[in-house]
């Protein structure tokens, strides 16, 4: 099991945002998480790599188990969250590229600083990734001169440079011009075909239907329905799922 989530709760400003979620993800799966704004999708994602602090339950990512700091202590929580982030990559809605570094430097920074690779080895890896996401010509541009689609592809390459076992995407295409969405989705689809485990919070229903192995519909911090895309989009079991999906037809 790549990820095993049990009864996870998370509160922001003492408001329960994630309210008892359980989920298992097999290696190589692509799980799409859908649901209305404020339903807790992003927070769930940020709990998985420890950017948010869970208040109850447990999240096991491969061999590392995250639990509430009230149970294991804040220092131990930080320690384990750090361990999780060594094998989990994340892609953000607004890219969060480092504006003071070129695309090349953005991608090479992690391997050099975190993995301790030599400049040369990191450069080879960076070149390969630039090739993969189709940004070879933009290597020495700064993020602010790139289009949104290019920036997001660079951000994916940056995450991939750390050789993660798992990638988390927090609405990766929501900030993009509609005409640029496909270029990002294409990269994600390719990664899925290569066997990468991915959890994608998204509003791209067609992508969820075509590429996801399972789809998770979340509302008010709880799972309303989970199943293969054919079930969720073809014959949803819940009235609430049907109501939500109606907006996308």
């Amino acid at each position: 099991m790549a990820i095993s989530i049990r009864d996870v709760k998370c509160s922001l400003d003492s408001r329960p945002v994630v309210d008892g979620i359980s989920l298992e993800v097999e290696p190589g799966d692509l799980v799409a998480v859908i649901g209305p704004s404020g339903c807790g999708k992003s927070t769930l994602l940020r709990c998985i790599n420890g950017l948010e602090t869970l208040s109850a339950g447990e999240i096991k990512v491969y061999d590392t188990k995250l639990e509430a700091p009230s149970k294991i202590g804040m220092a131990e929580f930080r320690h384990r969250a750090f361990a999780v982030r060594q094998i989990v990559g994340m892609v953000f809605q607004s890219f969060n590229l480092f504006p003071h570094l070129t695309v090349f430097q953005n991608i090479a920074l992690g391997p050099e600083v975190v993995l301790g690779l030599s400049k040369d080895v990191a450069a080879v890896r960076t070149e390969q990734l630039l090739q993969k996401v189709g940004l070879i010509g933009k290597a020495h541009s700064y993020p602010d001169v790139l289009s949104g689609g290019q920036q997001q592809r660079a951000a994916i390459a940056r995450a991939l440079a750390m050789n993660p076992k798992l990638l988390l995407y927090d609405e990766p295409t929501s900030a993009l011009d509609p005409t640029l969405v496909h270029e990002v989705l294409r990269v994600m689809k390719q990664l899925d075909e290569e066997g990468m485990t991915q959890i994608v919070v998204t509003h791209e229903m067609r992508f969820a239907r075509d590429v996801a192995d399972r789809v998770l519909f979340l509302e008010d911090g709880k799972i309303v329905e989970i199943g293969p895309p054919e079930q969720i989009f073809g014959s949803p079991q819940s009235e609430r799922t049907r109501n939500y999906l109606r907006h996308f037809q």
Binding site: N49, L51, F82, R85, Q86, V88, G89, M90, F92, S94, N96, L97, F98, P99, H100, L101, T102, L109, G110, V113, V114, Y142, P143, D144, R158, A159, M162
Partner: protein, 502 residues
């Protein structure tokens, strides 16, 4: 951390330079800004210390078989500098008073004198002390003259100054009505001035003594005996006569005739060089002559400013990180540092570090104390700049760095601080220029930098305008490259920071 090493290296260099062996040297302290006839920069060769006291020290050192070594200090700090052991004797028109005798030891008097009252030539009504009722009278602070004026039964306004030259200048301009000062000062600064005159008989009586530390009895005895020999041999009298200072009070005290034997050659020389207004080309030539000395001062100013700024940046970054990320105790401690160092005057901090700490057994070298004082004071300002810079870097940047698997230190080093740095370049440049100018304050802890040299030259030549402009230009030129550098960095770095931050 290369910067830290460089910093320590230069600092050690600074320490090495100003430490020194004690033995065959006779280390004497005085303030060259106190002017003629005491100790001042020679008008003909500004790199040489001259004055009747410099000659007394030379004669004394010869008697003692030692080499005189001059140490510059502010007049107000002479006693404290002696107690700090920056030098072993101080001689600078220091009047023997019971107050001072409690903290230092005085030699037998090497000169007896009185106070002289100076007024404008056109002022006919002031003939003596008793005519000063309701008048504005200027004098130097903490002198016998000030005490005499304050003791008068009638009302008068006492204005205290730091410089003799300014006093007589203001008298000539009509800002004050009279000046009461030591007779030697009046002789050199009022008598030659065509607009001024000295009125009435000498007032009061005062004795100048050489000070030594209370626990340095051996040297005190040596100095007293040497002075005795100099008086007996007529050497001291010769010096005083050359400087036109031989007077009835001194003659009487030593049982010698009042009529001088030798002509006042040193006095005449001084009046000739300092009181004749040079022509334009002579003046320009004079300014060129000042340049090496001013450059020396500028170099010291630059050295102190750069090292202080490096210390301030280092302190600032640590304090800022402590403030933003520290736990309750650390954060509060860092805030306290900022409040204390930002909320108290730099001058007081310098005094505390230089003259206060020795009482607790910590005796810092002047250069080190100057860098420490300026560095910590500006560190408090930098800390606030950097804190603002760090807070301005969006949280999403930290998220991205952490998500990449960076630890806290790597996140700061590679993502937050480089972005924060760009944001604080303009305020930091501001602070550096301010620091450059504030570095003139370290003259109070005996550092000889640009402003000290300016004061010494200006008071010797009564040229506060020309030398002042020259000095101001030097400060401007020192700061200019840094302003340029900052603009260049801003332009270069900001090309990559135009994207919208969230």
């Amino acid at each position: 951390m290369k910067i830290v090493k460089l910093f320590l290296y230069i600092l050690m260099g600074g320490l090495g330079q100003s430490g020194g062996a004690v033995e065959p040297e006779l280390r004497w302290g005085a303030d060259m800004e106190s002017g003629a006839p005491y100790a001042y920069r020679s008008p003909s060769d500004p790199s040489v210390t001259v004055g009747f006291e410099a000659e007394v020290v030379a004669a004394l050192a010869e008697e003692l078989g030692r080499e005189p070594k001059f140490f510059q200090n502010n007049w107000e700090g002479l006693v404290e500098g002696l107690r700090r052991k920056d030098y072993d004797i101080a001689i600078n028109g220091i009047e023997i008073t019971p107050d001072r005798e409690r903290v230092v030891r005085f030699s037998r008097p090497y000169y007896y004198t009185a106070q002289a009252l100076a007024v404008r030539k056109d002022h006919a009504t002031i003939m003596g002390l008793s005519d000063l009722k309701n008048k504005k009278v200027g004098t130097l602070g903490a002198t016998l003259a000030e005490r005499i004026l304050r003791q008068q039964a009638f009302a008068l306004e006492v204005v205290t100054y730091g410089e003799e030259v300014n006093l007589y200048g203001d008298l000539a301009l009509g800002r004050i009505d009279a000046v009461l000062l030591d007779a030697p000062i009046a002789l050199y600064y009022a008598a030659p001035n065509p607009q001024l005159k000295i009125v009435g008989p000498p007032i009061g009586e005062m004795r100048y003594g050489i000070i030594t530390r209370l626990d340095d009895e051996e040297l005190a005895i040596d100095v007293d005996q040497a002075l005795g020999r100099l008086i007996a041999s007529g050497k001291l009298r010769q010096i005083l006569e050359r400087w036109n200072l031989w007077n009835a009070l001194t003659a009487q005290a030593w049982n010698l005739p009042v009529t001088p034997l030798d002509p006042p050659t040193a006095y005449e020389e001084y009046i000739k060089t300092a009181w004749t207004k040079p022509g334009l080309s002579a003046r320009l030539q004079q300014y060129v002559g000042f340049l090496p000395l001013l450059a020396q001062g500028a170099w010291m100013t630059l050295k102190i400013s750069i090292l202080s700024m490096l210390l301030a940046m280092l302190t600032g970054i640590l304090i800022a990180l402590g403030r933003v990320y520290g736990n309750g105790v650390l954060s509060a401690g860092c805030l306290a540092f900022v409040e204390v160092f930002r909320g108290t005057p730099l001058l007081i901090q310098l005094f505390l570090i230089f003259y206060g700490l020795p009482h607790l057994g910590v005796r810092l070298d002047p250069f080190f104390a100057a860098v420490l004082g300026l560095g910590l004071n500006y560190g408090a300002c930098e800390a606030e700049n950097y804190r603002a810079g760090i807070l301005a870097v969006a949280r999403s940047q930290t998220d991205a760095a952490l998500a990449l698997g960076m630890n806290w230190r790597q996140t700061q080093r590679h993502v937050v601080l480089p972005q924060a740095f760009r944001l604080v370049i303009p305020p930091m440049t501001n602070d550096f220029i301010a620091l450059l100018k504030d570095s003139s304050l370290v003259s109070v802890i005996s550092m000889v930098e640009l402003t000290t040299i300016y004061g010494q030259l200006a008071s010797t030549h009564f040229d506060y305008l020309g030398i002042g402009l020259l000095t101001a230009a030097m400060y401007f030129l020192i700061g200019l490259p840094f302003v340029r550098l900052s603009r260049y960095l801003e332009r270069r770095l900001n090309t990559s920071l135009q994207s919208v931050r969230r």
